[in-house]
């Protein structure tokens, strides 16, 4: 079961490595991770997508809480009723000849993806949506064109409703 863990922590030297280290040290998996400072420059926020049942995730969150720099930890099952989450995908594809370029353009229009860079032979496509939709888009692109490389941001998410990491 995919779970999203949100962590608010002090922006100190080595704080991120303590979080990541804890996962490997205790045998928990990280599917993806994003980290960036918050509106309070002294704090960072990390979003981690992990795999595990509720008991394991509870254990992870307790261990995360023990880290001295960690202020708050919260976890939810990764589904859209709990959480608004987005991922960015960039995909560089071969786009040679009028027909192929048109086909890719049409695909992007259907998905509301953008073409953000062009060369005579390449397009860079940008797509922002949930991880699930990103997977779907990437599959459609692969069927349509030759993919040169891709990069995904990992999940960035925020819980719905009143629940907040800020106390």
């Amino acid at each position: 079961m995919r779970q999203i863990i949100s962590i608010l922590l002090e922006n100190e030297v080595g704080a991120l490595s303590r979080v990541v280290g804890l996962f490997s040290q205790r045998g928990y998996s990280i599917e993806n991770i994003t980290a960036a400072p918050t509106e309070d420059a002294a704090l960072s926020r990390i979003t981690i997508l992990t795999d595990g049942d509720e008991a394991i995730v509870e254990r992870i969150t307790k261990q995360l809480h023990k880290l001295v720099n960690v202020i708050k930890v919260s976890s939810k099952q990764d589904d859209s009723s709990n959480i608004v989450s987005r991922e960015i995908l960039f995909v560089k594809v071969q786009a040679i000849g009028h027909t192929q370029r048109e086909e890719i353009k049409t695909l992007c229009d259907i998905f509301k993806a953008q073409i953000v860079d062009i060369t005579p032979e390449l397009y860079i496509l940008q797509y922002v949506d949930t991880s699930f939709e990103v997977d779907r888009f990437l599959k459609a692109v692969k069927e349509q064109a030759e993919v040169v490389e891709t990069v995904r941001s990992g999940v960035c998410g925020i819980f719905r409703g009143e629940q907040s990491l800020h106390s």
Binding site: L9, E10, V13, G14, S17, R18, G21, Q25, R59, K62, Q63, H65, K66, V68, N69, V70, I71
Partner: protein, 570 residues
């Protein structure tokens, strides 16, 4: 306004924190700190002979006194040599601050001479760590380190100090301490949840087969009086983990002995039959529980621990209470008074009848032999001679378990042993630290001929500072515990456990300027122990040849329940 260098700030901050004993070993990166240390009148520096020993001594000091143990080592190998000691303290939640030198900040990351990523290497085995960036970080981080080490669930904290931060020519205004340290993201829970305490209090009073399980958390929080008062109030049988020994008096009728892999028959059977386990500051590790699926099938678990992550980690707690053991137990006493809860006399009478049957097995009985000393006899002899009042350090192995079972600890902080990590070589330096912290106490070490050789160099430290610890080597010419497993579970294949080239420990003691006594016959044992203890100002090594094939029994059967045990050789 006091201007001082970073090096002077290290010393001054430690002085302000009340540090009297600093265990250390100098080197390039900490030369300036050592120079500043010469000016200190308040701090006594104890020079060890290896950084592992230095840091274990700080650990032993902390365990015996309850204060934070502090050590100072240089960068690179100085720091890496403390890794085992830090891990030892971490596993047993011992408050310790490790100050490590580091190469200058401009050199960090350049593979400079004696550079190592100390913060990185120690990350999984510390409560927290700091890398100073400037001189003014030093007082701030050291104060935070002491605060972190000694509050909440205690543990070791590393402060890594680059050489340019302690440069004597760079002077800054010393920031005077301002009351208690406050940290935004660190706020341990000490008070138990009131509703949970009340519910648990009723469960304890209503249980017909309750047992109290005391762990290292009760030891660290100083909950001796509370544990004793509650056990007495309800006439509850008490058992203890290795780390909890001494919190409840071992000589008291209600004490069943240690539980777990080498626990007593009565403790493990009482656990197995209990309908309520009242666990105070323990973490249910695998040496305690045996097979988790078969652990205490009939029992509700009330679990007090200051670390929420220790609750329901292995054994599911039916009623968890996060908080400091001493504070929470006082809340329990209030609740007992509020509801006027008393001993369930009838139920306890039948419960004790059952327990006395377990006790009747007399599982610690062992066979004596007039020609060969049994290891248990050694512990018992020292116990008698010291009136059971000595501070005892051990290493790891058979002698450690024999000590836990046969030395009846009646007071907390008297048994110093590496429980979680199981570090051979821990005992001797820990005994040194304990003697420095408690100079009036009788400090003894039980060790093995294997373990002792892992930090034997500290004999030199003892000569330098006149540290008269008494060392009893249970000398069986083998790595006893490993041999026991080889004999029991590896078809008797003895692989690399014979120690046939031991030094002459008596000659060695003398070479280091100490005393040595060899004991070979059971008839000589008591006199030798008495003689050693009577030499008050001397370190004495008593090398006692004992049965190579003795086994630590009873022993739980792997994969079984608490009560599935081997009781004898047969």
């Amino acid at each position: 306004m006091t201007m001082m260098s970073g090096a002077q700030m290290v010393v001054r901050t430690l002085e302000d924190l009340g540090v009297e004993s600093l265990f250390g070993y100098p080197g390039g990166a900490v030369l300036d700190i050592y120079d500043a240390l010469l000016e200190s009148k308040k701090i006594k520096h104890i020079l060890g002979r290896h950084e592992q020993g230095v840091a274990h001594a700080a650990d032993g000091y902390a365990r015996a006194t309850g204060k934070v143990g502090v050590c100072l080592v240089t960068s690179g190998p100085g720091a890496t040599n403390t890794v085992t000691s830090i891990a030892t303290a971490y596993m047993d939640s011992i408050p310790m601050v490790i100050l490590t030198g580091q190469v200058g900040t401009p050199l960090i990351g350049s593979d400079a001479f004696q550079e190592v990523d100390t913060v990185g290497i120690t990350r999984p085995i510390v409560k927290h760590s700091y890398l100073c960036q400037c001189a003014l970080d030093i007082p701030k981080y050291i104060r935070q380190a002491f605060y972190l080490a000694s509050t909440g669930r205690p543990g070791p904290v590393v402060v890594d100090i680059p050489k340019d931060c302690v440069r004597p020519s760079m002077r800054f205004e010393y920031p005077e301490p301002e009351g208690e340290v406050k940290m935004r993201a660190y706020n341990p829970t000490t008070q138990g949840h009131k509703g949970q305490v009340k519910r648990a209090a009723r469960m304890i009073a209503e249980a017909s087969h309750p047992i109290m399980l005391v762990g290292g958390g009760a030891q660290l929080s100083g909950a001796k009086d509370e544990v004793r008062a509650i056990a007495k109030r309800f006439n509850i049988p008490v058992t203890s983990t290795l780390m909890g020994l001494g919190v409840y008096p071992s000589t008291d009728r209600q004490f069943l002995g240690m539980l777990g892999m080498h626990g007593t028959y009565e403790a493990n059977n009482a656990m197995d039959k209990a309908d309520l386990v009242f666990a105070v500051g323990c973490r249910f590790d695998d040496r305690v529980t045996n097979n988790l699926a078969k652990f205490c099938p009939a029992a509700k678990i009330v679990h007090i621990d200051i670390d929420p992550a220790s609750i329901s980690k292995t054994v599911n707690a039916d009623l968890p209470i996060v908080g400091d053991a001493k504070i929470v137990l006082n809340q329990f006493i209030d609740a007992f008074n509020e509801f006027d809860l008393k001993e369930n006399t009838e139920a306890m009478k039948s419960w004790w009848t059952e327990i006395e049957k377990f006790r009747h097995i007399d599982c610690l009985n062992y066979r004596h032999d007039e020609n060969m000393i049994q290891p248990q006899e050694i512990i018992e002899s020292v116990y008698r001679t010291t009136d059971g009042k000595a501070i005892i350090a051990t290493d790891v192995g058979q002698h450690q378990m024999f000590t836990a079972l046969y030395y009846k600890f009646d007071e907390p902080r008297h048994f110093l042993t590496s429980g979680g990590l199981g570090t051979m070589g821990y005992g001797f330096p820990a005994a040194i630290g304990a003697k420095i912290g408690c100079p009036d106490a009788q400090v003894c070490l039980f060790t093995g001929d294997g373990s002792f050789q892992m930090n034997i160099q500290e004999l030199s430290t003892c000569l330098e500072y006149g540290i008269p610890v008494k060392i009893f080597i249970l000398d069986n010419h083998t790595l006893g515990m490993v041999r026991q497993w080889q004999r029991m579970f590896y078809k008797g294949h003895i692989s690399s456990t014979n120690l046939n080239s031991n030094p002459d420990f008596i000659a060695l003691a003398k070479a280091y300027g100490h005393e040595g006594i060899r004991v070979e016959k059971p008839s000589e044992l008591d006199d030798a122990v008495k003689k050693a203890i009577s030499m008050k100002d001397k370190l004495v090594i008593v090398d006692i040849l004992c049965n190579t094939d003795a086994k630590v029994l009873p022993m739980q059967q792997s994969g079984g329940s608490m009560s599935d045990m081997f009781l004898s050789e047969e």
